[in-house]
Symmetry: D2
Subunit: 407 residues, 4 copies
């Protein structure tokens, strides 16, 4: 047992940290201020493309790919601390071409895509030239139960016809968002987990419509955003289907393991950022003649935040290690555990940080409500807390099957 | 001991509920949709003035005034359930001319104002013709300790000169906001609680500037809003001072008791609204073959929400009863208790309601993030949780002074 | 609405408080020390009978009876504050002849007992000459679901035959415990809530056996105690049956309402006692140069305790008021609410009080572990938290039946 | 980074697990029943000595010693999982000669003891022939602040004179408890952390008196126990002093790091045991027609327990790793973190397990109240939660010293 990162991971931690410190930290606040001052915030400001080019030139590009042929060949365990560092910023992930949902979409294309699909979509995604979306959640049904899905992807000859309404599709506000993966019902007669397919579509296909963008606690997360879409008899070639009809859940499953590591580590980065702001405020502001840090239970709050982060981070790293060593299936309980823990602690720590900041903490003067919104959203996205707690309990209780009551 | 409202309160509960049901509920959603579709949301739509006129005509106007000469003479205990009903809506308080900070400002003017001040400002406020603001919190210092206040209100001859920066001043976005009460340091040599004064100012006085409007969790609460203001050598006649130099804290104290009852009851209304939405969703949506209400710990969550609300409401009502019977000073601990409890339970219940709503709960499709933002903000406004818990503990420990250790 | 106790309640609050202060407080600690120093702790020390005689002489006897013909005719709402005062002591309830389960058993006998049953058992119980037990919970099944009950009460001619194993039967260690009420299955063919009967039995009936006494967190609660019993073909006359075959649940239901008010108010008294001890310790002990009260989050803990108690008490009083005004059935949700809230807050406050006491708080030098054990036990006795939360949710969701999903 | 135990640790995990399974698990329940049936429970039953001999013969002896010359040379990180396994049992630690406070006392003697001290006391302790005690906590002062200590260890010529009152001295009920380490004030003029000394004493020295044994939540933990002692002019040779006058805190500090790893890992073992019992009960008991596991929020409770344990264990292992790699001083924050986390989660999980067990969970039929009492006690022993949270916050805030406000 060893709690030190590999030399390779340590090297990348150093390089990514320095890039953050030298290139991103100095401009993030002014970038966000400029963006938010615009009437149309759904744009890519030049500084973003400049930084992407710098990151690419520095070899800090597609770091998430656990595969030497595409990225730098970091394992999930090695990439995890980099995701944490990126999670301290609202823009870093895009700059390193490591932002969701592109990461997951690239992994799916790399693993299941045909040569043609890869040429057409994986290549420009890896180059950071286009962005992508993943269309799963639906407004009309409880998406916590994915088998509730009502949208359809019907094979007709050499075409697939997509119909339905999706929402919380992330990234569709981005001007470069060109391709999406649509998940829909293909064969209601098949086994419960073999009814759905994943199908690629271009955003300019007739019948694809962005109905509106959705706020998360008032944040639209421009220029990416989350939106509601309708698919009205959208016809795409059968060759746009990924892996084949009915394989949607299988692909989703493989996609979600590493994706949850990334999400959770980014939130741990967000939680660290919130704790840092909380501490700085606690030592620098005074009330009743003392630094706020010395008032009431504030030190307990700071200690609790530190303890929560330490524990959550170790659990995420262990989950990444199991994925690397044994595979996603062996890490199912741990992946669900971190999916509950990381967003919950990040939400709590942000809330505490806001409180110590006073009114300012609730405004946009600090990144706290933004991190909070990300954490709160992740308690629902990719499966709500309740579903993941249920899975953890299921794995736990399976150990005691032989004690099971008859009825 | 009797847990039934007085016949007078019951009558007004019935009348206000009916007005809500017949006039406000049917139009609130479309009103909000229309407002939010505007480029300039800082406006009063005609429907608001129409409803105000109807409410006034129906005798449901200035209900908060515990004084027959101004309102209908309801006690704090009798008005409390009406505030709860209004708290279920984002617009009802204004329609009944019972919205903060106007209520508190009117009470101050009624109690401490000169005939001239009352004629000029109280009268149009009571008529709902103008709106007002209260300028206390400052960005540069921890406002949890009100004696930190740095803005100044210096008497020079027959004028008062106001200087400083204030923020979280509620209502200043409203086109009818014409008058404000500014609190500032007049005499730094006086006793700690006799240094500050309250001074009335018109918004068109030279030197008064609205710097920007502030979001709370992304919500600007148009058309009222919360903003940051600067006062640059603002000169007003000495007759604009309320009660006299150095009496700011005394006035603030008296103002805050009933104001906190109102705030807390409105949040209890908000919490009830969130619980209602949670229950409706829980019985109407299905996942894994069951109504969501029957999954996992959801019934515990609903039960906990009900228990929190029942307890919090009783405590607020008891605090109101003490104010009515004995006065604000006798209710200091209870007022601080409700100021902690009500926003915290409202926040928790909203969070739980969001979770049961899935992604939609985080969007503007439901009023949940709005109620959440109000609750979260009230954990800081009018004194943060920490200060109020400290006061409750202080009153508790005072009972045991004789056991006090020497050192 | 009025938060002041009736003049009659106020008078009894004064009289019971004075009796506590003058007669019980001065001797309780030495009484407990003497009792615990004995090899056989299952005895009644003379001081107890002396104090019972004094209480009876003072007219402070059977106060719980909401009926002038038996007690002093206090309503549930009027008796509640007296139960709270008694709950501050481990012995007061017995001294005022207001201890469970005798109170519930007396109420059952008064309401459902025949003249013969009342003469034989109610009279000596009301005189404090004998004690009684109530046999419901069983070790072999989950008693949270009372219909799981396996013990039988079979009518054979003019006899009833009792068989089965019961545990957590309170009071059977007491040397004066002479009579019990046994609940068992009489007719498995009847409707789910009409299968069980309640039957009176004398402890010296052949076949009745006390198997062992059970500790609660290491406390045996001598001389009352809680125990495990077996019933092996215990034959009693049919005239010992209460109300008639199959009426067990009906009787249990009516019994539990006021009983829960008593339990909860006693625990609120226990919680007040714990808070008092916590405050005294916090102001009188010093560490790091300050009274403990001024360290870290201790004032928050004290404030939270005060807020929890205030809220819980009001809710219990309201539940009592509904029982008095409308009846037990109208108060079902509130009764379940307080049954969850009161023991949970009492447990938390005791835990916090222990922490502030340091090691001593875990020992028998303070009453904290004793109050804790009572609170912890009540989270299971008379229905576990889970069942009561479920009932609260059920009543809440019933309001929204029309929104119910089809499946 | 690697989450797999070293081959050596894995081997010992296997061997200790097998010894537990084959030798301890089969007899523990009957051993405890026999012990508790005795009038005098302060005895060593023969089975204990038999098992000790077997463990010693199997090479599973003094495993805690991170030093080849005394034990088997396991690092703290390697020993940690063994402590967890032992923590599932109330007797295993003694059988492997790894019980507190002997472990800490042996480490102190090994590190600081003279040859004479080692010959006289370390040797028989390592052989398991005698037991020992550590006298630190005092009833008269808040021991959370160790500098409060009032007992004295005054050097007079070639003797040290011990005076004072100590309590919560663990192990003094054991018939083999022969030696103790007394900590007392030697030089009140010295620097705050150089005033106290540690002095060895035999229990038969005149003036040493065991005043009484103390229960923890009603548990006396026979035959070890915790007690209150007085020292009345106890004279021992100066050669009994450890390391020299004024070095008490220095020794205590070094002692506490590994000791806290042991305590925390044992509690994690206790928490695992509680979770195991909870799951078995949840699947095997039925209520309302379902296994309890499928009712309400029970699966959430199980999932939360699993997540808490996983996180806490990783944090303890990381703290052990830092101690091994860099030393106790580098692990100060982590050691305080685990000292808060492990007992708190163990207490919560035990409480939840009790609830799922119903009444039985509160009795001695299950080990739950025993594990609970250990966890609850450790929230105070070796420094209360509050002190450790304070340390964690202090280390956290030190990072931001340069932002510190002036006042």
């Amino acid at each position: 047992m060893d709690f030190q990162h590999s030399p390779k991971a340590q090297e990348y931690i150093k390089r990514v940290s320095e890039f953050m410190k030298n290139e991103i930290d100095p401009i993030e606040e002014s970038y966000l201020r400029e963006l938010h001052s615009l009437d149309d915030k759904w744009v890519v400001l030049p500084i973003i493309e400049e930084l992407k080019a710098k990151a690419k030139a520095a070899g800090l590009w597609n770091l998430f790919f656990p595969n030497e042929s595409h990225g730098v060949g970091l394992t999930n365990l090695e990439y995890a601390p980099l995701a944490e560092i990126m999670g301290r910023s609202f823009i870093a992930s895009e700059i390193f071409n490591c932002n969701a949902p592109d990461t997951g979409n690239m992994e799916v294309l790399e693993k299941y895509g045909t040569a043609e699909q890869q040429e057409k979509w994986l290549k420009p995604l890896m180059a950071g030239e286009i962005r992508s979306a993943f269309c799963m959640t639906e407004p009309g049904v409880a998406s916590s139960d994915a088998t509730n899905m009502e949208a359809t992807a019907i094979v007709e000859g050499d075409e697939v016809v997509l119909n339905g309404r999706k929402w919380w599709t992330t990234g569709i506000g981005h001007p470069n968002c060109k391709v999406g993966i649509f998940m829909g019902l293909t064969n209601p007669e098949a086994h419960r987990h073999q009814q759905h397919s994943m199908v690629l579509f271009d955003f300019d296909t007739p019948g694809v419509k962005i109905e509106r963008m959705l706020p998360v606690f008032g944040h639209y997360d421009e220029p990416f955003g989350h939106g509601e879409m309708t698919f009205d008899n959208v016809r795409v070639p059968l060759s746009n289907m990924i892996a084949g009809p009915g394989r949607g859940f299988e692909i989703a499953q493989g996609r979600l393991g590493p994706g949850r590591i990334h999400h959770c580590m980014r939130l741990i980065g967000g939680a660290e950022k919130a704790l840092e702001l909380m501490c700085k405020r606690a030592v620098s502001r005074t009330a009743f003649g003392k630094p706020i840090a010395n008032l009431g239970g504030n030190r307990d709050i700071i200690a609790n935040a530190r303890m929560s982060i330490e524990q959550a981070r170790l659990l995420v790293l262990k989950a990444a290690w199991i994925i690397d060593k044994v595979g996603v299936m062996a890490a199912m309980s741990e992946i669900s555990q971190i999916k509950v823990i990381a967003p919950n602690i990040a939400q709590q720590i942000c809330d505490a940080a806001m409180q110590i900041h006073g009114g300012g903490g609730l405004s946009d003067d600090f990144p706290l409500t933004g991190i909070y919104a990300q954490a709160r959203a992740l308690r629902l996205a990719d499966g709500p807390d309740e579903v993941h707690r249920g899975l953890v309990a299921k794995f736990e209780l399976m150990k005691y099957r032989k004690y099971m009551a008859e009825k």
